[in-house]
Symmetry: C2
Subunit: 224 residues, 2 copies
DNA sequence: TCTATATTCAAGAACTTTATTGAATGATAT
DNA sequence: ATATCATTCAATAAAGTTCTTGAATATAGA
């Protein structure tokens, strides 16, 4: 008896899941969710050899999670579509709710997590309409330039200490970065709170914002 | 340098993805999505040794995808929550949209698929209110008994040919089974169409209905 | 055409996952 | 207690995955 169409389909879907089944590849996907990246750029960010990154990218491509195009000497990779962001969100969601170990890590490293009460996209949209909030993007400048939330100010986490004066201590700040588990925004909130700022984290990051079809801005300078 | 909290989190999420990365386990999850099952019952349905099924179940459990409870001599497994159904849906969705091979399989085995224009949950809800449709559950009787759509008639696929007289040829029929790729409902639609019935497929199956928080019925006899 | 640069391919060692087998555990009923 | 049945554990061989290394392509510019 040969395998039926159902087993064949499940085998394909399982292959997609397997492509998601490596921490390195998840990290690559999170970076690609910010925008297109070349192989070397990715390799640098996640500290892996170029050949190795290339191989991981082939796997992601075979699984239909990323697509690529050539631009001169470079090959640029990107997520195939927003469905991939949704899939990652669903994966993280299950992990966060059902794995004790995840809970432990979140608690031990992001102690304030519970008290932070993250801001939802809808909430942020309403508040920005009133002009009541500073939206703070703590990702590196190049990622900010590629795309960011409308009116956001960019202060990469590493520069935050040095550029505190750019922030108005009386206005509420909403910080965001790459995604729901991007460490940058957690640390930004911790650092700013310690200095008496009124800060909260955006629940998701830029990719989820984009996947929700909400407007974005491009370019280096903004808001501030 | 030790691994940071981010890598630790991604490692956990990757483990969840890896648990989904086997066709057999996906098949088990689809069955568990219908309701609780014992180890032996599962083993029978997907033709795998009991020991093997048990080991797969341990993996799914470690990944937080299923939970278990003991009932006398039996250990019954179930999905941890509806988030798992959402995750599988997101996975199938990405596969269906982005993998040429999936498209090929769907086309070659379910030629009518495009012409079928599946009925959405919302659409079905509206139509049942008007009493215009026969809702047909083509899953085996025991799965039907565990839970089914309100007012549904149960005719397992294998009995369909013999029980055609139970269906009213003038009324529109909406067939459903275990999930979006459950073969049963595709075949039921094909068989009934060949006999001149007006049939369509429900877009999803029972698990998605449940995950959406819609009402269900239990018990063997119903509707008809 | 030749050279430099970005990426991919190929082969191999270390490690992980899978299916199989048979033994061990845990709960129930005699 | 003992026997019985459902399930899990442990050990193993086969298959698959990961990372590394060095060679092979493909493009751009001289």
């Amino acid at each position: 008896m040969s395998i039926g169409p159902k087993q064949a389909l499940l085998a394909e879907f399982a292959a997609v899941a397997r492509a998601l089944g490596s921490p390195k590849r998840l990290e690559m996907l999170e970076h690609l969710a910010q925008g297109e990246r070349g192989v070397e750029a990715l390799a640098k960010r996640i500290s892996l050899s170029i050949a190795n990154v290339s191989q991981h990218l082939q796997q992601l491509k075979r699984a239909g999670l990323v697509a690529s195009r050539r631009d001169g000497k470079f090959v640029l990779y990107r997520l195939t579509d927003e469905r991939v962001v949704m899939l990652m969100r669903a994966l993280f969601d299950v992990g966060e709710r059902n794995l004790a170990e995840v809970d432990r890590i979140l608690r031990s490293h992001f102690a304030e997590r519970d008290s932070l009460e993250p801001v939802t996209r809808e909430e942020l949209l309403e508040r920005t309409r009133g002009g009541l909030v500073t939206v703070l993007d703590v990702r590196p400048a190049d990622e900010f330039a590629a795309a960011h939330l409308p009116g956001a100010v960019n202060i990469p986490l590493v520069e935050l200490e040095a550029r505190l004066s750019e922030l108005d201590p009386r206005q509420e700040i909403v910080a965001y970065c790459r995604g729901p588990y991007c460490v940058l925004s957690f640390e930004a909130v911790a650092a700013l709170r310690a200095r008496g700022f009124k800060v909260r984290r955006l629940q998701d990051g830029l990719p989820e914002w984009r996947a929700a079809g909400l407007p974005m801005e491009q370019g280096a300078a903004s808001g501030a």
